[in-house]
């Protein structure tokens, strides 16, 4: 990190060099501290959102696992966890399947109205969530989908598809079409070619698109508030109503678990990225 400064740098430049590093350090602190601070707070022994004197003196009495226990035993939270996974998994499956196929179509040559189509397919990502949520609430109430699992899954799938379309289209930019022709000329039919040649090559793009779609659904809170009801409550739904009504450190325990979950996801994506880079490096 510490690059040697050239000998001709003046004093002011030296001071500025280190001052700049300190400023950047403070900004990184601003970025990370709020996320890390909830970890110790979640082990609080009393129902406060702040550090107690016992905690600051590292007295074991000040710490407890009661909020994790509360989370684990609560029917509400358990239901929320189940719903979160059910809704995220199904909406990811729909979004990934439809998004991948559409991206394959969009990456072919001479697609008519490509820009317009792309703009429409990406629109769920562009329109502010509150507006999507509002419109979905109005429309889904008309067709009796409001307050059903199916309604929430469809809504989340719609929100997730743009990410799949974007990532898979990006993977297909460097895709060598003569491979398909080679497979065809060797006697493979369309389906075999797709599963044996195309899918393995675009898989990293599909997986990272699916991860984006999953996290979109898993994190989503605006649409679920409008389209869902208590029966469809997800973890974010439960957190939102928890913060609004009775604020308890159980939320901090859940938040800590979610931070760990997002670190795991981040690692997965980083590993995927490195893998693709390595593969590209080998090819080049």
């Amino acid at each position: 990190m510490r690059t040697k400064l050239p000998p001709y740098t003046s004093l002011i430049e030296r001071i500025w060099h280190y001052a700049f590093r300190i400023i950047c350090g403070l900004i990184f602190l601003f970025l990370i501290f709020p996320i890390l601070v909830i970890v110790p707070l979640s082990f609080n022994a009393v129902p406060f959102f702040t550090f107690t004197p016992e905690m600051l003196s590292f007295d074991p009495e000040g710490y407890s696992l009661r909020w994790y226990e509360d989370f684990w035993t609560s029917v509400n939270w358990r239901g929320a966890v189940n719903n979160s996974f059910i809704i995220a998994v199904f909406s990811t499956l729909i979004a990934t399947a439809l998004g991948t196929v559409a991206a394959l179509g969009l990456s072919r040559r001479n697609v008519p109205y490509r820009t317009t189509l792309m703009a429409i397919l990406i629109s769920p990502m562009i329109v502010p969530l509150i507006i999507s949520a509002c419109g979905m609430f109005f429309f889904y109430s008309r067709v009796n989908l409001q307050g059903t699992h199916l309604g929430v899954i469809l809504a989340h799938a719609a929100l997730g598809t743009p990410f799949v379309v974007i990532t898979v289209t990006a993977t297909l930019v460097g895709f060598d079409r003569s491979l398909i022709r080679a497979a065809n000329s060797l006697g493979a039919d369309g389906v075999t070619t797709f599963f044996k040649v195309v899918v393995p090559l675009i898989l990293p793009g599909v997986i990272s698109g699916a991860l984006f779609a999953f996290i979109t659904s898993f994190d989503e809170v605006v649409v679920i508030l409008f389209v869902g009801s208590f029966e469809q409550r997800t973890i974010p739904w439960q957190m939102f109503s928890g913060i609004r009504e009775h604020i308890s450190p159980t939320i901090l325990a859940v938040a800590t678990l979610l931070v760990i979950f997002s670190i795991a996801l981040l690692m997965t994506i980083e590993l995927l990225r490195r893998r693709t880079e390595r593969l590209r490096g080998v090819r080049a």
């Binding site: 996320i35 179509g105 040559r109 999507s132 901090l252």
Partner: protein, 447 residues
């Protein structure tokens, strides 16, 4: 591109040509006879057909998603657009009254004739059985307070009136408001089934009986102030993310790749962490009994009574949203800065420029596309934000989206919610077109 298309076609329809190619001597090209494929179709038409089939194949791949998005997303948005302009309540529950009112001149200052009152009695009697007539009162109450109670009262009492009339005096005796010209003007103004009324209301405008549109008096303006506050706070948040994001992006772009990749994780971790987690932690940090206040009291900077209120106001919204949106600024800035060769700065310095001068004259102008991309992106996300302002915004830190949610789920004035939503959507779309011009939506980077 063109060549590639042709190559592709040549392969696709090789079996069509092969006979032509083998059987036809070179001289055929010069002859007047059009070149045909094996089954006698002119080559030009066969090519066009193959091209068309290719296009249809692409569209067939895109269509499942297109239909899905149309059903689950575009139709809801269309539904909202429709709700912003449709206004069927008055005309469907007071059909006779609306028809009779056509004859009445609302600018004359006189009350409508007897036949209008008779029509009103007939309409209310019919609607009273189902109690749906109160919906008219509810609707008109948005425009003129007091209409709700008027219709509730009329719904109870009008069915008890004697048959045969005359009704005018009898109805006025029930409630003096029926002798008010303004009451009738409101009913007439809102009798068409399509209305721009919600849009006027969303922009703090009102329609006078004469048909003019005028701005509400200062103290009654809600939404213009709210739009203005949303834009102002979003602008401020964008500025804060730029000030904090620029040094970080610069540091990431100038450090060796190995170090910067590690530091990039520190930017991506908040980006991947649930939005509610980040909002929760800001509540824990900023509230009166929170970590920051406790710390300031502990180091005796403030005393226990004068704890700072940093949450449930505009400060809370700005701090939490700056933190949440910072990665959206850093990432586009970083991707632009990565492409600026380091030799530019070295060249400027070696030509005698002071490093600071070199930075502002050479480096900074090159980062303008990144500033534009990040700035517009943060601004767009910010003006449509709902969750964080709702949880930490209190009274002074709420955005237009919070009022949309309020009208959908609390006041149930869906028309107004839809109109506010459409104005916000229009604003966002204009900004996106700008964004598309600068960066291109296709180039959007994800993480």
């Amino acid at each position: 591109m063109q060549g590639a298309v042709l190559r592709h076609l040549a392969f696709e329809s090789r079996k069509l040509f092969h006979q032509t190619q083998t059987s036809m001597p070179d001289t055929a090209i010069d002859s007047a006879q059009p070149i045909t494929t094996a089954d006698g179709i002119p080559l030009k038409r066969a090519l066009a057909r193959a091209l068309r089939r290719d296009k249809m194949k692409s569209l067939a791949l895109v269509s499942p998603l297109f239909i899905f998005i149309a059903l689950t997303f575009l139709m809801p948005i269309g539904d909202m657009l429709w709700r912003g302009i449709e206004d069927p309540i008055v005309s469907s529950f007071l059909p006779r009254t609306v028809a009779e009112l056509k004859e009445w001149d609302e600018l004359s200052g006189e009350l409508p004739q007897e036949s209008v009152y008779a029509a009103l009695v007939a309409d209310v009697k019919e609607g009273a059985d189902t109690k749906l007539i109160t919906r008219v009162g509810k609707r008109l109450n948005y425009e003129l307070p007091g209409m709700n109670s008027l219709f509730r009262k009329s719904q109870r009492r009008i069915p008890r009136l004697e048959e045969g009339g005359p009704y005018k005096d009898a109805v006025i005796k029930l409630d003096k408001k029926w002798a008010n010209v303004e009451t009738w003007q409101i009913i007439k103004t809102f009798s068409p089934t399509l209305t721009a009324g919600y849009f006027w209301a969303a922009l703090d405008l009102q329609v006078t009986p004469a048909g003019d549109v005028e701005l509400l008096p200062d103290k009654n303006r809600i939404y213009l102030n709210l739009f203005w506050r949303t834009l102002l706070l979003s602008g401020f948040i964008t500025l804060m993310t730029l000030i904090l994001g620029y040094p970080i992006a610069y540091l990431l772009a100038t450090l060796p790749l190995k170090t910067s990749n590690v530091l990039l994780m520190l930017v991506l971790l908040p980006f991947w962490t649930s939005l509610l987690v980040r909002t929760t932690s800001w509540i824990a940090l900023l509230q009166r009994q929170g970590v920051i206040n406790d710390f300031l009291v502990w180091i005796n900077l403030i005393d226990d009574e004068n704890r700072l209120s940093m949450i449930h106001n505009a400060t809370g919204t700005v701090v939490a949203m700056t933190h949440i949106l910072l990665p959206f600024m850093i990432l586009p800035l970083y991707s632009v800065m990565k492409t600026i060769p380091k030799s530019y700065m070295r060249a400027a310095v070696s030509l005698g420029a002071h490093p600071f001068r070199a930075f502002f004259k050479v480096y900074a102008p090159n980062t303008v596309p990144g500033i534009g991309a990040g700035g517009i992106l943060v601004f767009i996300i910010s003006i449509g934000y709902y969750i964080t302002p709702a949880l930490v915004g209190g009274r002074s830190g709420t955005f237009i989206s919070n009022f949309i949610a309020y009208h959908v789920s609390v006041s149930l004035n869906w028309g107004l919610a839809a109109a506010l939503g459409i104005i916000l959507l229009g604003l966002v779309l204009v900004l996106y077109i700008l964004y598309d011009r600068i960066v291109g939506i296709d180039n959007m980077k994800l993480g």
